[in-house]
């Protein structure tokens, strides 16, 4: 086996198929998107080269910046919610009764498709027959808000199902990481008289810091390009109050037939996500990883 793997040609041969697929399916479309962004194109007829004009328009487009703001808000909320997930995982990973069942319950939303979740929450939020408003009226709230129709509320109303949807995923990651910590370290800390909170904060957390960093990147990047629940639940409305970058891009390219401009927005989305990822990596970089 060593002999095979030391041959550079063989290595190339093994890597090549996957590389080709990724190239064809991901990188070439990426470059093409950037290229289409330089065109005035309705997606059907002929293209006209207009240079960077689409990108300039995008940078001056208030709707684009509004949608970017909404995406960043989502990113902030997703990142903050990681704290809650971490707390839940810490509880689940300590030896409590029923942890196994609870873990499965938390995981269920992840098994549902986005569209099913969207339909579920649209029904919960229904202003007159929805579960939420029925509940609020039952406890005496006279005029509960129409969650998905209020421009000031709609964004946060959608954040809740989005965070709920991914809770299971992050809890699972944290749970697995925490279970990987050798029991002996915890035992040692206990013998030294550390309280459960001290153990969690001073020992467990630093040991899974690498995983936490990865989840921050995942949460932020996932939020910036988030699309599906928003598209199904409100379509970006009302008055663009729940528009995010990806839904705005989709609307431009497919609803207004402005394929060139939509592509430009898509490419900007890629650049913004890359920059943010780099910043996070820089900000969370530590000189040394703590080892077991």
């Amino acid at each position: 086996m060593n002999k095979v793997m030391s041959n550079k040609w063989i290595i190339a041969l093994y890597v090549l198929p996957a590389l080709l697929l990724i190239g064809i399916l991901i990188f070439i479309p990426l470059i093409l998107t950037g290229y289409y962004g330089l065109m005035k194109w309705d997606g059907i007829g002929s293209m006209e080269f207009i240079g960077l004009q689409n990108y300039v328009t995008a940078l001056q487009d208030k709707k684009f910046w509004d949608s970017a703001l909404h995406s960043f808000l989502l990113a902030v909320f997703s990142t903050l919610s990681l704290i809650i997930y971490l707390a839940i995982s810490l509880i689940l990973a300590s030896k409590i009764k029923g942890a196994d069942l609870l873990r499965k319950i938390y995981l269920i939303p992840m098994l549902l498709s986005s569209v099913a979740i969207a339909q579920l929450w649209v029904k919960i939020y229904n202003p007159s027959n929805g579960m939420l408003n029925s509940l609020l009226m039952a406890i005496g709230v006279e005029n509960p808000p129409a969650w998905l129709a209020e421009p000031s509320l709609v964004l946060y109303a959608i954040f809740i199902p989005i965070l709920w949807q991914y809770a299971g995923f992050y809890i699972l990651i944290y749970y697995a990481a925490l279970k990987n910590i050798p029991e002996s370290i915890i035992e040692a800390a206990k013998i030294d008289g550390a309280s459960p909170i001290q153990i969690a904060y001073k020992i467990k957390l630093p040991l899974i810091m690498g995983v936490v960093k990865v989840t921050i990147v995942l949460a932020v990047v996932g939020s910036l390009k988030y699309f599906d629940l928003i598209y199904v639940m409100t379509g970006g409305g009302p008055n663009g109050a729940s528009e995010v970058m990806a839904s705005y891009m989709y609307k431009l390219a497919f609803s207004t037939n402005n394929f060139g401009y939509g592509s430009a927005i898509g490419f900007l989305l890629l650049i913004i996500t890359l920059i943010v990822t780099l910043i996070i990596r820089k900000a969370t970089a530590t000189k040394e990883e703590i080892q077991y």
Binding site: P17, I44, G45, P127, S128, A149, G237, P238, S255, N258
Partner: protein, 433 residues
């Protein structure tokens, strides 16, 4: 051992090549038939699951066509609405449009005509199908003096109302705006939501605005603002926007309408939680022939034309227009046969569609000779007496402006924009084109 490694290696390469090949195949297929038999590729948007009756009628027509034209085969591909739109776009980008397919009028058609993807069908309009369309329907598919599509359906929007609820509070179908407002007040006082509106979809609100504009400013004020012979800052269009906001202030629409989809609004109307519902006549089967809807409910539904406003407006003027139509691809290898198929399809469609699927066809149909529910006969009569049919605003406009319009409609209903700004932003978007 070494032999096994070689086998793994080669099968690995083989598999990856296979995947690549599978991904590439299908793009190079020849679209025309082989030998003397010819194949017409036909794509439509009525899947068997969701539009059973439509699907059945289409299949019957195809079968008859194949019987009458030996040697010609129709190859069918069916997708549902949104997927259909997406696929059509992708196919046209790669010059692989089906020989015959379905399109919508005006704004949807525009990029395809500009990209020279659709063939003109004027020869059919002059020939086989001369005088068979209701006036104004085929015209909606015309651009630069050529017609690129032939319509199958014609719809007008009317206000459906629940007679049982109206009777309960001693109300009658209104003919003037004051009566209409009176109904809204009475219903609100009795805790019944007056109007079901799902304005998440936005075109639903556009219907209300269009009728308001039509009654206040006459049948052509909106059309001329859109075709640039007039202005969107016409006082009538601003007043119409003000009236919409007055209705919102009166709580005329169900709670949270800007967050509800049309489906949700419809289910409120069908569940007798709201008394009125402005919708296209494509919804007629729900109130007449659809067996899934309780008979009692179907019997309790009537409809009225949008009332006159302050003595202005014509009850015979409607908002509506043709629905989907058929196109023939410009690059089709079997253009002759495709056109023949379109002509055959349209001739067969009219009567079959109205009796079988409850579609009001764009071709003239002799209503008296058919056994139809009363509400159909009424709508067909309204159509024949129509003084004007204003095409749906978002269909009239190009795709870009239509989005601006729809967004502004949602803002107008949600009071996120003043009537003056509403008109001004329309004017800006339209004049930029």
């Amino acid at each position: 051992m070494r032999k096994r490694k070689a086998v793994t290696l080669f099968s690995g390469i083989f598999l990856s090549l296979l995947v690549l090949l599978a991904g590439c195949s299908g793009s190079g297929e020849n679209t025309s038939g082989s030998g003397d038999g010819k194949t017409i590729e036909f794509m439509h948007l009525w899947p068997e699951g969701s539009s059973k009756q439509h699907h059945k009628i289409v299949s019957e027509i195809i079968e008859d066509f194949e019987n009458e034209n030996p040697g010609v085969k129709v190859d069918l591909e069916v997708l549902s609405n949104e997927q259909y739109k997406d696929k059509l776009k992708v196919l046209s980008t790669s010059n692989q449009l089906p020989d015959v397919g379905m399109t919508w009028a005006a704004g949807f058609l525009e990029p395809y005509v500009n990209g020279e993807k659709f063939a003109t069908l004027d020869d059919l309009l002059e020939g086989d199908l001369k005088d068979s369309f209701v006036s104004g329907t085929a015209e909606a598919y015309a651009m630069n003096d050529n017609t690129y599509g032939l319509p199958l359906e014609l719809n007008i929007a009317t206000v459906f109302y629940n007679k049982a609820i109206f009777d309960q509070y001693g109300l009658e179908a209104p003919t003037t705006y004051d009566e209409f407002k009176n109904i809204i007040t009475t219903l609100n006082e009795n805790g019944v939501a007056p109007i079901a509106l799902g304005n998440k979809d936005r075109w639903t609100g556009s219907l209300w605005y269009m009728y308001m504009a039509d009654r206040i400013g006459g049948g052509d004020v909106l059309t001329s603002a859109i075709d640039r012979s007039g202005s969107f800052e016409d006082p009538a269009l601003v007043t119409a926007a003000e009236e919409i906001q007055n209705l919102v202030d009166m709580d005329a629409f169900v709670r949270g309408f800007n967050g509800l989809s049309d489906e949700e609004a419809k289910s409120m109307f069908m569940g007798e939680q709201a008394a009125m519902y402005l919708m296209g006549s494509w919804d007629l089967p729900n109130y007449t022939t659809n067996e899934d809807v309780p008979q009692e409910f179907r019997d309790s539904i009537g409809y009225f034309s949008f009332p006159t406003v302050d003595g202005n407006g014509d009850l015979n003027s409607h908002v509506g227009g043709p629905g989907v139509g058929l196109f023939v691809a410009e690059d089709s290898d079997v253009k002759e046969e495709a056109k023949k198929f379109v002509s055959f399809f349209i001739q067969q469609w009219g009567e079959k569609a109205v009796t079988g699927a409850g579609v009001i066809p764009a071709t003239k149909v002799d209503a008296d000779s058919l056994d139809l529910p009363d509400m159909y006969i009424d709508v067909l009569n309204d159509l024949s007496e129509a003084s004007n049919i204003t095409l749906f605003a978002d269909v009239q406009m190009s795709a870009g402006v239509a989005q601006v319009h729809l967004d502004l409609i949602q803002s107008l209903f949600g009071k996120g924009v003043t009537p003056d700004d509403f008109a001004k932003e329309h004017e800006d978007a339209l004049s930029k084109e």
